[in-house]
Symmetry: C2
Subunit: 235 residues, 2 copies
């Protein structure tokens, strides 16, 4: 099995002509908290790339539905996959021009404790993408998307596993959402406080949060001769 | 400052008459993956209580919007708060009977690596709640809700901080979503594999994931005489 390089996200090609910021629209300008909003392309990509689970929202029978799902990014495109039998993926394939969705990614970086209950908060980075999910039919793009979804969680893994066969591909729907209309929101730093609260006898500060990886647990039926791959050892 | 007991979530009172499972409806029965679905009240509560950030979906101008936000649970009710100027909270207050929402909570417990790309997955626990968000106006319920939101992230904290004053309360909108129509979904265990893949030379197994708390960082202006509270030391 050859050593594989991390796949990257195609930035080199896709960003050559890209501007540094995404344009704003009526729905990506927040009604409040504008100081926390950002449209910076590099920031948006970094927030997306650190995640592999997003929350995908769509409308069914007039009501909102929000489901967690894996995703992958390739340049300015996000991909989501699922069974061809799953409802949102079916709807993305039959709706014209596609299924209106909102795809949101959130990292919580810290609990922010202020002297006042009111100023309690969290430090976070989030990206909210609005758009239309369309079914991907091109075999090459589907393959690229499926690899990206695997590599989003474990960079380098797609080249170190058996690719999908014809039957598996036939059972898998892939939808695409372009990074056109979106915003990031970021909060960092310590608590806001009212000046008159500073002398109150309550602890104040931040509890940092981070994703914690445990030691990989091999399957019982794994041949002991198969080593732990480098891309897992470095997590 | 008195030592405070963890607040609990009111289970004792609220669950006395509750059945062990939530009823199913057309939209809480999944189109597929039914084996992973659960309506068990205790499981649903445990998944909700381990989280403090949810993804709240609603419909604006016919399109879905998904935003991350803090929440709290009190018995069979979830609460979300925000500025009275924020759009979804304004809409929950003006729509009749309220704002249709979908509130989703997800924990990712592990990355599941199979020999085949197709069988890659994640271990997770999620809860998807459908319903109508209504604005809470009763002062006592608003106070209970705001405490619950603070305590959801840091159990015991609400009693160890300055409660909101009249001006802060006037700036805060609180909405309620009842736990009536919902489902949980859980995946655990190792990868599914095709029998013919077992001899392939790829690592297979699970990388466990957990929330990682860092050491609390006190604000620069914190009086050094204020000790680290017990509810933070135990995180």
């Amino acid at each position: 099995m050859p050593e594989t390089a991390p796949p990257g996200n195609g930035d080199q090609e896709t960003d050559q002509d890209a501007t540094a910021s995404y344009p704003t629209t009526a729905r990506t300008l927040p009604a409040r908290g504008r100081a926390r909003a950002s449209y910076d392309r590099e920031l948006v990509h970094s927030v997306l790339d650190e995640a592999y689970v997003c929350h995908l929202g769509f409308v069914r029978d007039g009501a909102p539905v929000v489901l967690p799902t894996l995703f992958g990014r390739v340049g300015e495109r996000l991909y989501v996959h699922g069974s061809t039998g799953s409802r949102p993926l079916r709807e993305a394939g039959t709706a014209d021009p596609g299924l209106p969705v909102c795809l949101t990614v959130t990292h919580v970086d810290g609990l922010v404790l202020a002297r006042s209950a009111f100023h309690h908060s969290v430090n976070y980075r989030s990206v909210v993408v609005h758009g239309t999910a369309v079914t991907v039919t091109d075999p090459e793009e589907r393959s690229l998307a499926l690899d990206a979804i695997v590599d989003q969680a474990v960079p380098g893994r797609s080249r170190d596993s058996r690719p999908a066969d014809a039957k598996e591909l036939a059972a898998t729907a892939v939808v695409r959402l372009d990074l056109d209309e979106l915003s990031a929101k970021v909060r960092t730093g310590g608590p806001n406080e009212e000046p008159e609260d500073l002398s109150l006898p309550y602890w104040a500060g931040v509890v940092p949060l981070a994703r914690g990886y445990g030691a990989p647990v091999a399957s019982d039926d794994l041949d002991p001769a198969v080593p732990l791959p480098h891309y897992l050892a470095s997590l």
